[in-house]
Structure formats: structure tokens, C-alpha cells
């Protein structure tokens, strides 16, 4: 269990080393430092056995937070509590000495982390087995390839059997087989009731592994909850960062036919006039454009939120421009029950250019999606956004609907499953009988 309340970390920055001397010599009467708060008023709790993802752009305070929790830094204010044995994987191989052999380094490093020798001895076989170093176990670490180094370090950390485990970007290393083993190991740790704090820029991994996530921005906790939503907020932030950074000329958009030749059935028009059946608009959106109506329909234009695998659902948007917008992008994401993005698409992906909008304009847009997905429940996340100059996605998030009813993809017919896996890829099968 980890509980953090009102945590803050202030760094004192001195322009010159002599400034600190002056400040000390005057017993603080001469203030020569500027303050920098890397973290401020961060509070959250992680239940035992829960996996919390921590996301944020570089410099958001993630590392500072983890260092405080692993007691490598002291907080300036606030408090935190971690129950049980904590192991932190801040930097793989910290404490490894190049001259010592792999085996010696395992003991050395574990001692630095405060684990007794006996503890490591009991697990030595498992550690060495996991690292798969072969004969290199008894060679000095300086002869290792970087992959071997990381494998050794990770297997040591993974076998220390912690109650709380702090992982920072550790899984971005090693080949795909090692990564898969790491993920398996993580799941095993979780099932054993180990609490995990996981920092990563790999958003797939975060949505995949974590039960919950928090988003840090400028040292503050700005979003907390379902990893899928937090990851969306993260991308929205990144989009805003792009927007603030670059003022590249926007690609001019030749307006298409305003009507778009779209036939909107009366029933759909009526449902779009209602507020969307979502629980919330994402707090991170700029709301330059808003999705004021949203509905789904089947081929018969009736409201429909389920479909046979391979069938088509049509998603309708009524977008209201609160500000002028000439680069509107309307899209939708589908996540499976594990939080894996099964499919996402937007007008931009398909090269569709929506008409430029003046403030107050409204547009109806529809995406007909053939849901060739494995039967199951999928959450759907419609969003509207803008491009940012010539930069690719994600652009700027304007609005996003959270908490819509899930789409249910049902199994068509009986007999064997139509396919295995997440999505149905088009497959042509042919055969010929060889008679002679």
C-alpha cells in the first residue's frame, strides 16, 4: 500500500556556488536562491495489489516523485507512507561494479538495497535462470553486452519479492522476448498482491498493465483514474505542447460542399439534438469545438450500440464550434476490456477534410465503421480536435466524450469462431487438390 498526501519538493537553485556561501554566512538573511517546485500538493493512494501508472511529459515531476517514494530524496512538505518492503527500479544496474562478475554484483547490489546475503542466496538460481547469461555469469560485468547487463539487473530486481515495486522506464530495454518475459513477470507479481508504481512513456503499456493512472503536469497531479482516460489527457497535453511550440502555417483547406451530400435521417437528427449519452467531457480538452450530440445507429438508422462481428455501425457527431476552426478532425477510438486500443480512426487519417468553421457553426459528421473485432465489449471514445500546423497526430484535443455506453460486438452465427485474436484481417483462402 502506498499513500501520498500533499507531497511537495522544492529545489533551491543558486546562480553561482558563492551565492550559497553568502546565504549561509549571513544565516539566511541574504536570500540568494530561487525556488523551483518540482512537485506540489500531490496526493493519491494505491491499494495493495494495485498497479498505478504515472504518466506525464518530461519534467513533469515523475522521477522526483519516484525518488521520494524510494527514499532517495527527502520531500520538502507533505508526507507519504509505504507499507512493506519496497524495491525501486529507478536505474537498472545502479551499484553494479564493472570489475566484479555478474554473480558478485548480484550480492553487492542487493546489499546496497538493504537485502541480506542469505535472502539473495535463496533466490540465486531463479535470478540467474531469468537473466539467461550462460557462461558470462562468472565474467566481469564490463565484458557484458548492454542487453546482458540489463537482463542481469532486471532479474535481480524482479526476484527481490517486494511488496511495493517502483518501475521507471525499465521495460523499454531488451529484445521483444525479454520484454514479454518482463510483462509476464509483472503480471505474476501483481497476482501475488504486489503493489506496482509504473512510470512509462509507452502508453500502450500503461493502459495495458495498470489498474489506474495519474497524470502529472508541471509538478501537479492533473488527472487521475481509468488509465485509458488519463492516457487521453496525456496526449491532449502533448498536443497543447505542440501548439504552444510551433506556429507553423496551417495547411489551407479548400472548403468542400457544405452539405457534404449527407442524408441525415430524421430520427438521428432528433437524437443528436439531445445531449450525448456520455458521463463527462474530458477536462483536458480546449473546447474550441464541442461534441454536442453523439449517437450510434445500425443500417436501419435506428439507435444501436451492438453489432455482429464484422457488421457496420454508424457513429454520428454534431460538432459545435465555439471558436473559428479550419482544421477540424473528428475521430473515434475503441478499447477492449484490457484497455488495449483495438482501433482508432479520424477524418485526418482517411484524408477527409472537413469544412472550415466560424465561431457558432455546427456540422454533422458520420463515421461508418465495420467492426471486424473479436466478440466482446469495447469502450468507445469519440473526440474532436484540431491539427497543429503540419505536425502529425495527435494535434490539439478539443473535446472528448468519456463514459459512453460500451459497444457490444456479438458473435455472428454458430460453429467455430470466425477468427482468433483481436481483429479480423481479411484472409483469402484457396486450395487445389493434387490428384497425382
Amino acid at each position: 500500500m502506498v499513500s501520498v498526501s500533499g507531497l511537495g519538493k522544492r529545489f533551491k537553485l543558486y546562480a553561482r556556488p558563492a551565492d550559497r556561501l553568502l546565504e549561509w554566512a549571513s544565516f539566511g538573511a541574504m536570500r540568494r536562491h530561487t525556488e523551483f517546485w518540482a512537485l506540489r500538493e500531490v496526493s493519491f493512494t494505491v491499494r495493495a495489489g494495485e498497479c498505478l501508472g504515472i504518466v506525464g511529459v518530461n519534467g513533469a515531476g515523475k522521477s522526483t516523485l519516484l525518488k521520494i517514494l524510494s527514499r532517495a530524496l527527502y520531500p520538502t512538505e507533505g508526507s507519504f507512507e509505504t507499507r512493506g518492503r519496497l524495491v525501486s527500479l529507478l536505474d537498472l544496474g545502479t551499484g553494479f561494479q564493472p570489475e566484479l562478475t555478474g554473480r558478485q554484483n548480484i550480492f553487492e547490489s542487493a546489499q546496497l538495497l538493504g537485502f541480506p546475503e542469505r535472502y539473495v542466496r535463496e533466490r540465486l538460481a531463479a535470478i540467474l535462470d531469468f537473466a539467461q547469461l550462460g557462461e558470462f555469469v562468472d565474467q566481469p560485468v564490463r565484458l557484458y553486452s548492454s542487453g546482458m547487463f540489463v537482463r542481469l539487473a532486471f532479474s535481480l530486481f524482479a526476484h527481490l519479492d517486494p511488496d511495493v515495486y517502483i518501475v521507471d522506464e525499465a521495460l523499454a530495454v531488451g529484445d521483444v522476448f525479454f520484454q514479454q518475459r518482463c510483462f509476464r513477470h509483472f503480471r505474476a507479481l501483481r497476482e501475488r498482491g504486489c503493489t506496482i508504481l509504473f512510470v512509462s512513456h509507452d502508453m500502450e503499456a500503461v493502459t495495458h498493465l495498470c489498474d489506474r493512472a495519474i497524470l502529472l503536469n508541471g509538478g501537479k497531479l492533473t488527472a487521475e483514474g481509468d488509465p485509458v482516460h488519463v492516457v487521453h489527457d496525456y496526449f491532449a497535453l502533448k498536443g497543447q505542447a505542440f501548439a504552444a511550440g510551433g506556429a507553423a502555417p496551417v495547411r489551407s483547406v479548400p472548403p468542400t460542399d457544405d452539405r457534404g451530400g449527407l442524408h441525415v435521417p430524421a430520427g438521428v437528427r432528433q437524437r443528436l439534438a439531445q445531449p450525448p449519452p456520455a458521463t463527462a467531457h474530458a477536462p483536458a480538452g480546449t473546447r474550441a469545438t464541442e461534441i454536442v450530440g453523439f449517437t450510434a445507429s445500425g443500417r436501419d438508422d435506428e439507435e444501436r450500440w451492438s453489432v455482429d462481428s464484422g457488421g457496420v455501425l454508424r457513429f454520428w457527431y454534431l460538432v459545435h464550434a465555439r471558436e473559428a476552426c479550419h482544421d477540424l478532425n473528428v475521430g473515434i477510438h475503441f478499447y477492449d476490456r484490457r484497455g488495449i486500443l483495438a482501433f482508432g480512426v479520424g477524418t485526418i487519417n482517411r484524408g477527409v477534410v472537413l469544412p472550415a468553421m466560424a465561431a457558432g457553426d455546427r456540422v454533422i459528421c458520420t463515421l461508418a465503421v465495420r467492426l471486424a473485432l473479436q466478440p466482446g465489449q469495447y469502450t468507445l471514445v469519440p473526440q474532436s480536435g484540431g491539427l497543429t500546423g503540419n505536425s502529425p497526430e495527435p494535434g490539439v484535443l478539443h473535446d472528448r466524450l468519456d463514459g459512453l455506453p460500451p459497444i457490444v460486438v456479438t458473435r455472428a452465427g454458430h460453429g467455430p469462431a470466425g477468427f482468433y485474436g483481436l481483429i479480423d484481417l481479411e484472409t483469402d483462402i484457396a486450395f487445389a487438390r493434387l490428384d497425382d
Binding site: P17, K67, L73, T94, G95, L112, L113
Partner: protein, 261 residues
């Protein structure tokens, strides 16, 4: 502080030992250098001061005994400065550990102090053996030497802790310390006899924290006499107070120590 030092005792001892083992790593003679180096020093002192720069102060019968006097002061002094100087740099040298791992800071100062003490043990044993071989006086007072040396190193550990903490914040301290320690050596009767000092300077010696240690060592090793209770008290006092002050300073500055690394 004690609890943490105890918890990490294996780490401290192991690393100090490997320091002793690896200091001369890569050389053909290897560990033997640990004995050769102090032995060479003893030989050089005795050559320089008994044959070239002949200083035979009154009260020293043989040439050998002035060499003994020199070694009795210089070898412990070398270990003491090692302890203080390496202690002062311990946090900076181990910044990569301190910034990432929840290790108590004092471990690194203790590790250096332990290594310096091991070297001292080797060189003093060498000195003892040389004394026996040369046929010098190896009185029962030698038995008090290890205790005095341990107290001396304890004092050095305290200073290392104190300066090590400050040095992180004000890096000039490490450089200033080099000069200060040299000055301190010449203010203490290590390479000269106390009797050549003017009377005022001799009186001031009571305020020099190093003096009780050096004097006690001289008495035991050269004079063969047991130091008085006052001297033992002074040694215990300095060896006790320095780590406490060092630790108090560390505790006060600890929250920001790793930020400044």
C-alpha cells in the same frame, strides 16, 4: 546512525577490504604493495633523518629511535588525513548511488574510514615487526597502540562526516581542507620534537585535538610508557564528540544533501 551502520556492516567491511585488495590491482606484486609501501616509507625516514639530515635531539640514544618516533606519528597521521580527506569527498564520489538508492549517507564515509584503518593496521604491524627485527624496544605499552589508533580514526571519521556534508554544499571546503591539514601537521609535533617549541607554543598544545593522540602514540611506541588518564580522556572525548557533531550536521542538512549532489 549506529543502527544503519550496523545494518550495512557487511557492505562497509567488504568494500573496505576490496579497497585494500584492489588499490594495487593490475600490478605484478599485487597485495604485497600494501606492505612494501609502508616499509619503504619507514626505510626512507630512517635514511633521511638519521643519515642525511641528521637530527639527533637530546634524549634519543640511538638513531633508530628517532625513526621510530617519526613513524609512530607519521603513519597514523597519514591514515587520519586519508580518513578526513576521503570522508570529505565520500558523498560527491558516490553521488550516483545517493541520487538513486535509499542508502544512509554515512555508510560511504564509514567505508572510507574503514579502508584507511585497515591500511593503518597493515603499516603499524609492519612497523612493529621492523622494530622487533632491528632489535628495538617493544614494550608492553604497545598493547595500547591499537586502542589509541582506533580512537584517532574515530576522530577522523567524525571530521570526515562533518566536512563531507558541508563539502557537498560548498565545494571549496575539500580544497581548503588539503591546506588546513598540512598546516595542522606542522602545528603538531610529528616530524619534530615538542621540546624545540617555545614555551607558549607548548602551552597552546593542550588545545590541539591531535596532540593527545600523537603524544600518546609517542609515549607508547617510543617511550614504552602507558599514557596518563588525562590523555585517554582527551582521546575518548575527541573520538566521541567528532562523530556526534558530524552526524548532527548531516542530520540537519540531510533533506537537501542529495539535491545538491
Amino acid at each position: 546512525m549506529i543502527v544503519n551502520l550496523w545494518r550495512y556492516r557487511t557492505y562497509i567491511v567488504k568494500n573496505a577490504l576490496s579497497d585494500v585488495r584492489h588499490r594495487y590491482a593490475g600490478s605484478a606484486m599485487g597485495i604485497a604493495w600494501n606492505v612494501i609501501t609502508p616499509l619503504a616509507q619507514i626505510v626512507i625516514y630512517s635514511l633521511v633523518f638519521s643519515h642525511i639530515m641528521v637530527m639527533r635531539p637530546t634524549g634519543f640514544g640511538s638513531r633508530a629511535s628517532f625513526t621510530l618516533y617519526l613513524c609512530a606519528g607519521l603513519l597514523p597521521w597519514a591514515a587520519f588525513t586519508d580518513c578526513v580527506l576521503r570522508g570529505a569527498n565520500a558523498f560527491i564520489e558516490n553521488a550516483h548511488y545517493l541520487k538513486k538508492l535509499p542508502i544512509p549517507e554515512q555508510i560511504f564515509v564509514a567505508k572510507n574510514a574503514m579502508a584507511a584503518t585497515l591500511f593503518l593496521a597493515i603499516s603499524m604491524t609492519t612497523l612493529g615487526l621492523v622494530t622487533v627485527v632491528v632489535g628495538g624496544p617493544l614494550s608492553p605499552a604497545w598493547l595500547g597502540v591499537p586502542l589509541a589508533l582506533l580512537l584517532f580514526q574515530g576522530f577522523g571519521f567524525g571530521l570526515g562526516l562533518f566536512f563531507g556534508t558541508l563539502n557537498v554544499f560548498i565545494r571549496d571546503i575539500g580544497h581548503a581542507l588539503l591546506i588546513a591539514l598540512q598546516l595542522w601537521m606542522w602545528m603538531t609535533p610529528i616530524v619534530y620534537l615538542e621540546t624545540i617549541l617555545p614555551a607558549t607554543a607548548q602551552r597552546l598544545m593542550a588545545y590541539n585535538p591531535i596532540y593527545p593522540f600523537i603524544d600518546a602514540l609517542h609515549r607508547m611506541i617510543v617511550g614504552g610508557e602507558w599514557p596518563g588518564a588525562a590523555q585517554w580522556t582527551a582521546m575518548v572525548f575527541w573520538a566521541g564528540i567528532a562523530p556526534v557533531v558530524g552526524y548532527l550536521v548531516l542530520r540537519r542538512l540531510r533533506p537537501e544533501l542529495r539535491d545538491a549532489l
